[in-house]
Amino acid sequence: MGESIFEANLILSLFLFTVGILGVMWKRNAISLFMSVELMLNAANLAFVTFAFQHGIIDGGILVLFIMTVAAAEAGVGLAIFIALFRVRRHLRVDEHDMLHG
């Protein structure tokens, strides 16, 4: 694989991560927030795979599998929480769920 693909992959990963960050910061809906987090995780996955491929070390690829597993579990737990939250408050606007402020 050539240098350009390697760099392009990293730039894509960076781009996805940035989109994820911005989404986490700006989106108000919890589901959107959650999707942005997934985006960031996938950006990381992409970076892992790219590096693994570039250096010919399998570790990065294995780590990606772990991250995907954790992300799936996290998605399950997170969505469950959101459903429960929605049942109580009838909306999912995170900026209004601020009862834990000091």
């Binding site: 986490v24 570039q54 250096h55 995170v94 769920h97 601020d98 009862m99 402020h101 000091g102």
Partner: protein, 797 residues
Amino acid sequence: MDFIGLVWLIPAIMAIAALINGLGCRKLGEKAGYISVAAMVFTFLLSALIFFQVRGIANEADHAAVAAEASRVDNPTGNPGLVKWNTMNAAQQAVLRAQYTFAPIMDPENPMPWETSARDGAGGHVHLWTWIDVPSVFASEHDLRVDMAFHVDQLTAIFLLFISFVGSLVFIYATGYMREDHHGKVEIDPGYARFFSYLALFAASMYILILGANFVVMFIGWEGVGLCSYLLIGFFYNKQFNEKLSCADAGKKAFIVNRVGDFGLMLGMFLIFWGLGSLSFQTIIHSLTMGEVPNGFGYSGVFITAATLLLFLGATGKSAQIPLFIWLPDAMAGPTPVSALIHAATMVTAGVYMLARLNVLYMLSPTTLAVVAVIGALTAFVAAVAGCAQRGIKKILAYSTVSQLGFMFLAIGVGSFAIGIFHVFTHAFFKACLFLAAGSVIHALHHEEDVFKMGGLWSKMPKTAIAYLAATIAIAGFFPFAGFFSKDEILYMVHSAAQGDANSLFYTTLYALGAFTALLTAFYMFRSFFLTFTGKTRMSEEKYSHVHESPISMSGVLIVLAICSLIVGWVNIPSGLIPLGNLNSLFWGFLEPITDRGAMFIAQDIYGYTDGKVPYGAVVVGEVMKDGTIYGNYHGPELLLAILSMGIAAIGLGIAWMLYKDGNLEKAAKLVKSPLRPFWNISLSAWKWDEFYDALFVAGSWRASKAVLWVDKYIVDGIVNGSGRVCRAAGIRLRQMQNGQVQVYGLVMFIGACLFLLYFAFGISSFTENTDSYSDPASPLRDTLTGQVENAEQSDQ
């Protein structure tokens, strides 16, 4: 029967009585009084039995001593009165040592039941249990072993006898005093059972004090009587004593002043233990007289002087001497029977008792003895002056108690321990009589204590008046009343001490002071008598007509004590006064094996004289004994001195007679306006001693505590409150960061992660420019990111 072995019953019975009365306070009512009286009378009977047993043993020992005397080694000098210790051979010395010094007594593992060795204390050592047993850690230290043990000898027996006797009488009296008869309706004090519980507890403590075989057991009693004194002075805790103090304040004052003395007592104890390795009286005295003592514990040693002075400080507290006597006049806030028992007859004599008990220690330090003599004489004088202008009848008696205690210490200061104890003994009777008679008057007048508002009570309460008169004659020192024999003997001892070549002026001055005090004593005592009982009354007609004699439980006791005030002095008639052969100086002869141990030791081992009889009093002044003509042969003009001191007392009586006999206060008032005014002011204000202490210690500590309070308030509290305020202010600012917005948290986390990344990747090298940071192990990530990538790239190519 072995009564000495049962001696532990005495304090135990009193403690049980105290417990019963204390626990059953409200239910017992008048029965509380009977319980305490019964317990006290029981202890008196047991004490009497113990006394006679001790006397029996002592007599046996005396017979043994006489036999030993008969087979005594020949006198090498041919001069019967004067054998020099160092001219004798070892065998002779051994014989004399066995006779006169302290025989080895206590093997703590295996206590002997009796001590019957010749010339030694007759009595027993009752070991109850081992209380404290701490082995030493270092070889240079002593094991600390304290037994719960009682020791009975002549000194203890005498104290047991008169404490239980006077105590029983006072208890009986108190059953009458603490109830009021309102026209047939009997009213008992609400604290009746509490009062008798305290009294019984006091008696238990006092018994422990005198019975204790070591410092620690004595100290239990010492503190116990202090506690009971505090409780009883403040018995009417909700009443006002005078314009400055409430009764509770007076109790506190007594307690706190006594703490100062106890501080000295404890330091003295520690010093003794540090040097001699024991706290048992027997062992201490034994090691001082027989064994090798460490440096500073020999004759005139610096440590023995320090220890005895510190112990004496304890004695000045308990026995109300300068500088700690100020609590006793205010102790009169307690009920009158308490003043009679505790603050006149028993507790305040504890200091005298301790010094007599430790006479060997005190004889080893001439400096301390001189201090004791000076303090005693000064206290006697100062208190006598203060007693001359007082108006409260109990206050007069209080100052006279302080003054008489001063006489006791004066006797001890010239080495006459037995005579000091003799004055304790006689004083217990006539002072109890005075106080109880005063209490009878106060009771009859419904708590009027001012003698200026009395007068003419002789016809109304004749028994009380006669008792008061008898005791007044006794304390003033007229023949043949008790006080004459004891006080005169003290003055005679001081006079003997003045016969030495050295220090003659010193002791002559003390004698003059003592004699002048005797004049003052006669004056103020007869003043109080005349003002109270003779002349025209200064009370209102109506009140005067209601005065009546006290009930039999009180007047009967007064009569018994009045008779005692007459006769108890007869047990120690000196041969110089009336030659009675074997009947002379019985009291002194009985106590001699205990109280003159120190004198004998000094005479033999320090000055080298071996004749058994040491001229008491004179022994302190080594000069007297070095002069062979005086030693052992000195018979001062005792009769002459006795007549002189009676003449002095008669002058005091005469002045009081002229001024006060007809109950007219104008003559005295006129005299007060004369040049005698300063004297009167000094007397009335008691030398402004209280004011002086108030200014020095009370105000001083007040100021010091205010300064400390300022430090606490503004510096310590400032730091504490300041740190709190800083935290609070910081918290108010910081809590705004926790706004509950999960996205803000995410942002902060992200920024933090970025900063970490930057730090690990480039931070070290960019922050520390000039160091070779590429090998810095603190940035592993940088190595991973840069180095490994480079390596990977290299391997890739």
